[in-house]
């Protein structure tokens, strides 16, 4: 039984390989991802954001190994020197190499941003879709929790708990994620309410497909564009919150480094030793700018009809 079909596949591919390549390429319908990438690529600012992000990530993860100084390895011969050939970003008052420290802080911020974004968007998708699809008391309970979390000042709660998670990255990420998914969850719920009346969802339902399966196979894939954009926005929200908390000493704490702690310690000497402030702050601003530009580009690529910011 299997032999003829194999033969058939063989002949088809062979044939198209010999004579039909060009013709097939022209008529082939491009996949959704390809269309979106094409639209994304056309926007100069979005492409600029992507290139900028790649450069920054490379700097943080590869560049840090190019300098001979470690982030915890002070140079006792040069205290508070301006940027030079050996110390690319200069050193602080204790002789710490600012380049190594900035890159180390950037690694932390990038990692936290990505993890939190995935967590928060995932949570928003599951909670919002469950509330919308199942309705009744599940909807009531979930939305009540969402409202409660919106009322609680999240920055405050994380700050209160900061003595507990002393540099426990997992707990920090979970807490950050806990507080930025609610608004998206509401939007996802609203979308789910209309999606669940569609024929293909009803068809799946009457065929006996279980609720969770419908959510993951039929509802969430239809919200993919929304979730993608949301995750990108969440990266920048998470990085902002993390650096803000670390700025006050409520996030990443010494001896570990974040861009927030670096900027905080440079605050007093920002006028006399500006490089201590400008490099970490500049890296942070460029990182956020890159992520925001990508988010904007994705938004326009997924929905070209708006063609409008936000």
């Amino acid at each position: 039984m299997t032999v003829p079909s194999q033969e058939l596949i063989g002949t088809v591919t062979a044939e198209s390989g010999i004579q039909g390549t060009a013709a097939i390429d022209e008529t082939r319908v491009p996949s959704r991802g390809r269309i979106i990438w094409r639209r994304f690529r056309k926007q100069k600012s979005a492409l600029f954001g992507l290139v900028l992000l790649v450069i920054l990530v490379l700097m943080a993860y590869v560049g840090i190994h190019l300098t001979k100084w470690g982030y915890q390895q002070p140079d006792y011969d040069s205290f508070a020197v301006t940027p030079n050939g050996s110390h690319w970003f200069g050193t602080d008052a204790a002789g710490g190499d600012l380049f190594a420290m900035t890159m180390r802080g950037a690694q932390k911020s990038i990692l936290i941003g990505l993890l939190v974004a995935v967590l928060a968007t995932g949570m928003a998708a599951i909670v919002g879709a469950s509330a919308g699809y199942f309705g009744k008391w599940i909807d009531g309970v979930l939305m009540w929790i969402v409202n409660l979390l919106l009322v609680i000042p999240s920055f405050l709660i994380i700050a209160i708990l900061s003595p507990q998670f002393h540099n426990n990255l997992t707990l920090f990420v979970v807490l950050l994620g806990m507080f930025i998914w609610q608004v998206t969850a509401r939007i996802v719920r609203g979308q789910t309410l209309s999606l669940k009346e569609r024929e293909y969802v009803l068809a799946a339902k009457y065929m006996g497909v279980s609720g969770p399966r419908i959510i993951f196979r039929h509802i969430l894939p239809n919200l993919a564009s929304l979730l993608f954009i949301d995750a990108t926005v969440n990266v920048s929200v998470a990085v902002l919150t993390e650096t803000g908390l670390s700025f006050f000493g409520f996030g990443v704490q010494p001896p570990d480094i974040s861009l927030g702690t670096l900027i905080e310690s440079a605050q007093q000497s920002a006028t006399t030793q500006p490089w201590l402030f400008l490099f970490p702050a500049g890296f942070l601003v460029f990182l956020l700018l890159a992520v925001n530009l990508i988010g904007q580009g994705l938004r326009d690529a997924f929905d070209p009809s708006t063609g409008v910011a936000i």
Binding site: S45, I152, P153, I160, S162, F248, A270, L288, N292, I310
Partner: protein
Amino acid sequence: MGKYLIRRLINYVVLVFIATSMAYLLAASSLNPRSHFLGRNPPVPVTTQDDILNRYNLNDKTPVIDRYGHWLNGIVHGDLGRDYDGGYVGANLSRRMWVSGQLLLIGTILGGLVGVAAGAWAAVRHKKFADYSLTQGAFFILSCPVFVIAILLQVGATRLNNAVGHRLISFSGQYDPAHAGGFFSNIGDRLDHLILPTITLTLAGASFLMLYQRAAMLDVLGSDYVRTARAKGLRRRTALVKHALRTALIPSMTLFTYSFATIFVGATFTETIFGWHGMGEWFVQTIQGSDTNAVAAITAVVGALVLLASFLQDVVVGFLDPRVRVS
């Protein structure tokens, strides 16, 4: 309608109560007021420590639930509790809310006006130079955290002061305690201290609002009724302002209402960096200083104001949107 509003109000009160209780319980079990006695010389005897902490209901040796009960009892009688150094939370709260209000009032209003004006103008000049530069500028400012903007402004002001030779712009605190002068000179001093924080708040608020306003305006500009307004002979300016901008204001007004209603919550970074003793600075200090009662009070106020803000939003939308107003 009345019944619905009352139900919603009760729901709000319950939400704020639960949020505050959670904040209290978390703070009471996580923070450590005893740390104030660490490293004192001469060392404070443990019994004295307990005495002081007991007086302010902050003793970590009392079970959390008992402390919570004590605190709740005080709340019911209108007493918000005491700081670790004996100050009254209620008095501090009202003073600091007022300071925050002073600081944020001008910045919030300016941010709203600049944001709306810039957004509307960018939309009218769609795809022209003004549009591109305003949008990119707003995007760039949005990517600058408030603490980066604030510190940059401080550096700039110091440079300016040095260049001029005397202190042109002051940026620490609300006023200069050494400043002596008449009524107007004092007002001038206070305004001088307001410059940099106000610029910070305006930039942050305006860039956010601008992008919203631009999007809303662009949606409206393509609509039929704006074309009709022009077609029936209205001037371009009248059509843009009275017909287009009015409708496009609704989404940004709801955002603006929200930030206006929460001015008493304070601006954490701006206040801390510019040395204003408002709610935002207090919030950081109370957590660093392990002040459980104050933390709970701040949570309650923030929660209540956020809910009040969302309530006001509904009212404003109802007022602005004819469809809602008529139905």
